[in-house]
């Protein structure tokens, strides 16, 4: 049987993979993609919590009473997706702008803030 923990672990693994990509890739687009993966990981966790609470009938996991009909997790997910979309568009625009100016998107070479 599948419990909430499965989803949480799945989210964690997904998140970490994304993080690994974000920290280790040189291509800015790749970093962006990794970040998308991280966002998805979070979404997975949130939605999982939402359904868990729903399933649990108004009892939060720590026993506090909540209104399970609020579906807070899913709402969060919606907003995260919105923001993610916005972020993706802006980020890509920035990547293109940088590319125009410096003719590269290798983040290893973009170090204007170097001491």
């Amino acid at each position: 049987m599948i419990t909430l923990n499965h989803f949480l672990v799945l989210g964690a693994v997904l998140f970490v993979i994304g993080l690994f990509g974000a920290l280790s890739k040189r291509n800015a687009v790749a970093i962006l993609m990794s970040i998308e993966i991280m966002l998805n990981a979070v979404n997975v966790t949130l939605v999982a919590f939402a359904s868990a609470i729903l399933n649990h009938g108004g009892k939060a996991l720590n026993g506090a009473t909540v209104d399970s009909s609020r579906l807070t997790g899913q709402i969060f997910a919606v907003f995260i997706i919105t923001v993610a979309a916005a972020e993706a568009s802006v980020a890509l625009a920035m990547i293109i702008a940088i590319y125009r100016r410096r003719n590269t998107i290798d983040v290893g070479e973009i170090n204007l803030m170097r001491w």
Binding site: L19, L23, S24, V107, N111, M113, W115
Partner: protein, 728 residues
């Protein structure tokens, strides 16, 4: 409302005159003719233009030509420079400046008249005119206004009029009036004419405040203010070129600086003395001090009085602070007459006389001893220098120092302040006369080196005659006033058995007579004339065209000469007794009367006569003693020593250069290198640290990311460890 109650008018009138000239006529003058302190055309001064400041930079002290190596140096330029605005002479004074001088003179006349009224009121013992009985005994305190009162400490501006003050009032206003009058002629056409009268009036005000002060506060105010006016007037011709090396003529800018700072050095001691007295007694007032000091610790009091005397040493140019006075001759000659001969330099004597009850009665004998020996030594010391100087004003300056020494000696030996004060009184007149006369000469020939003079008596008989009177007076020849004031000092020293002072003063009397007649003969006489005294054209060594000075200048000379003679003649009628009686608040005191025709008197006079005869022999009849002394291998060093004024100027200059400036540089360098070194060093250390740590800012996004999540991870693990979750 008797004259004494109006005594504040005496200084107020010159003050008013000063303000009127400053804001009134002088402003109009400026408006009329745009440049008041007009420079002589640059072409005159361009030559030395850059060089004045340049060498001034090397030393705070004077570079006026004391470093002459050749005593026969040619001094025309220097004389021309010091002779001052004489380039502009002959040009009559325009209207507005003339108005300034008229205002000044009339204000002074009024003050003098008021002083005379006050004198009359003091003499009015029975109070049948002014209905103020025995003012002479009590004197009168006049409270002007309060500075402030702090607890029991009272800082108030009070005047005190007593007999001593009245004498000084008469001397100051009298001489000052004559000098104001004289300056109309002497300063005629000078570009700074109005400025001159402003500063002259300022001096008079300050001097009057000084003598009127009822407490140390007011006296010190006047004391410093006369120093200021002296500074201003010595530097009156501040725009002149430095005299050529070898000239004995002092140079105004450094001279004024020297004058002020040297006297300030004396005032330092003076102020400390005041502080000691004030701390012990809690009052500045002289009368209260007389009584309150008796409770003081003797040693401390004596020290305090000696310190106070330091102020007098500075102001009255006693050894070792006398060096400023000869240089002060850089000022216009009327100034030398008024400030640096008759009145201001006598302020020190006045101070001691004012505090005489404490000096003589309360403080230990050491105090007066210091005063006396300083005075006597200075008298001799200055006289020896005066023997060799060629600058006519220089000789007079040293004779002034010498005579001031007499006054201090007189104060010290006698048990009243009358002896010293009487010499101050007479000296004021004949020394002012001497200076004004020399000014008349300088005015006539535009030079002040006696080697460029000679035989002037026929050109300017009035000047010569009056100066002769003064010369006899200063030589202590009866019946002139000097005899009555100087001889008592010598005789009293003898009577009191103070043989050191006696010897010094006696020998000085001889020297005085000698150098004064040397001066007279070199100036007016010459070989082949009557006793060498009354020379004519053939004795004149200069190249100018001498002429007698205008009436406005000779008139004061005559007045002063008459004063000298009359005071002298009055001596036979016991005038000096009267003076003593007056000065001692109407009490008869034993004033050593000359002629109490005893041996001592004849010794004193004899010394004078001897000096005169020697001078006549040497300079009148060409006994080539002086040349011999100046050239012989044995005495030449001594001669040079005297001519170079014992090298004291050089010594002080060295002290200032090496000690004062050395220490100052030390301070500045310590600031620049040690303190700022520490400051900047610490700053540099911080900067270095930052240089190391900033390396962590790679600017690469992923490093930061790694750091963030690495940190988060570490914290996570730490939390687990801390909560023991891992242990479980």
């Amino acid at each position: 409302m008797t004259p004494v109650d109006l005594v504040w008018l005496v200084p107020a009138l010159p003050l008013a005159a000063m303000l009127i000239i400053f804001f009134g006529t002088r402003m109009v003058e400026i408006a009329v003719q745009p440049r008041p302190a007009a420079v002589p055309a640059p072409t005159d001064h361009g030559g030395h233009g850059g060089h004045g400041p340049a060498d001034a930079a090397t030393t705070p002290d004077t570079e006026a030509g004391h470093d002459a190596t050749d005593q026969t140096a040619h001094t025309t330029h220097g004389a021309a420079a010091a002779g001052g605005g004489h380039g502009e002479h002959g040009g009559h004074t325009p209207f507005w400046p003339m108005l300034s001088s008229i205002i000044g003179v009339s204000a002074l006349l009024l003050s003098f008249a008021l002083s005379l009224l006050i004198l009359w009121q003091f003499l009015d013992v029975n109070g049948d005119v002014f209905h103020t009985k025995n003012l002479i005994a009590t004197g009168k305190d006049i409270h002007l206004y309060n500075w402030f009162t702090i607890g029991s400490l009272n800082y108030s501006i009070d005047f005190r009029v007593d007999t001593l003050t009245v004498v000084m009032l008469l001397v100051v206003t009298g001489v000052s009036t004559l000098v104001h009058l004289y300056s109309i002629g002497y300063m005629a056409g000078d570009p700074g004419y109005s400025r001159f009268y402003i500063e002259l009036a300022l001096f008079t005000v300050a001097m009057l405040i000084l003598v009127l002060g009822a407490n140390f506060l007011v006296l010190f105010i006047g004391w410093e203010l006369v120093g200021l006016s002296s500074y201003l007037l010595v530097g009156f011709w501040f725009y002149h070129n430095p005299p050529p090396p070898g000239s004995e003529v002092p140079y105004p800018p450094p001279a004024q600086l020297k004058a002020f700072v040297t006297t300030r050095l004396g005032d330092f001691g003076f102020l400390i003395g005041i502080l000691i007295l004030f701390t012990a007694t809690g009052t500045f007032n002289f009368i209260e001090l007389n009584t309150k000091t008796q409770a003081m610790d003797k040693g401390l009091l004596t020290l305090a009085m000696i310190l106070v005397f330091c102020g007098a040493v500075g102001k009255s140019a006693q050894f070792p602070l006398h060096v400023w006075l000869p240089d002060a001759m850089a000022g216009p000659t009327p100034v030398s007459a008024l400030i640096h001969a008759a009145t201001m330099v006598a302020a020190g004597v006045y101070l001691v006389a004012r505090l005489f009850p404490i000096y003589e009665g309360v403080a230990g004998p050491q105090a007066l001893a210091v005063v006396g020996y300083t005075g006597a030594f200075t008298a001799l010391f200055a006289a020896t220098i005066a023997l060799t100087q060629n600058d006519i004003k220089g000789v007079l300056a040293y004779s002034t120092i010498s005579q001031l020494g007499y006054m201090f000696a007189g104060l010290a030996v006698a048990d009243t302040n009358t002896v010293g004060m009487y010499h101050l009184f007479t000296h004021a007149f004949f020394k002012a006369l001497l200076f004004l006369g020399s000014g008349s000469v300088i005015h006539a020939i535009g030079a002040q080196d006696m080697r460029k003079m000679g035989g002037l008596a026929r050109f300017m008989p009035w000047t010569a005659g009056t100066i002769l009177v003064a010369t006899l007076a200063i030589s202590g020849i009866p019946p002139f006033s000097g005899f009555w004031s100087k001889d008592p000092i010598i005789t009293t020293a003898l009577e009191k058995g103070n043989y050191i002072i006696y010897g010094l003063t006696l020998f000085t009397a001889f020297l005085t007579a000698f150098y004064m007649f040397r001066l007279f003969i070199l100036t007016f006489g010459g070989q082949g004339s009557f006793l060498g005294l009354w020379g004519g054209h053939d004795q004149y060594r200069g190249d100018a065209h001498p002429r007698e000075s205008p009436r406005v200048m000779t008139f004061p000379l005559v007045v002063l000469a008459l004063a000298t003679i009359l005071i002298g003649l009055a001596g036979f009628a016991g005038f000096n007794q009267g003076f003593a009686w007056f000065l001692n608040h109407g009490v008869n005191v034993d004033f050593p009367v000359a002629p109490a025709l005893d041996a001592n008197t004849f010794i004193g006079v004899g010394a004078g006569v001897l000096g005169i005869l020697l001078a006549i022999a040497v300079y009148g009849y060409g006994l080539r003693l002086n040349v011999a002394l100046a050239s012989s291998a044995v005495t030449r060093p001594i001669y040079r020593l005297l001519y170079r004024r014992y090298f004291l100027d050089e010594l002080y200059l060295w002290l200032i250069r090496v000690v004062v400036l050395g220490l100052s540089n030390l301070c500045a360098l310590f600031d620049a290198y040690v303190i700022d070194g520490i400051v900047n060093g610490s700053a540099r250390a911080v900067r270095g640290l930052g240089n190391i740590t900033r390396r962590s800012e790679t600017g690469i996004l992923q490093n930061y990311g790694a750091a963030i999540f690495g940190g988060a991870m570490i914290i996570l693990i730490l939390v687990f460890v801390a909560t023991g979750a891992i242990g479980r």
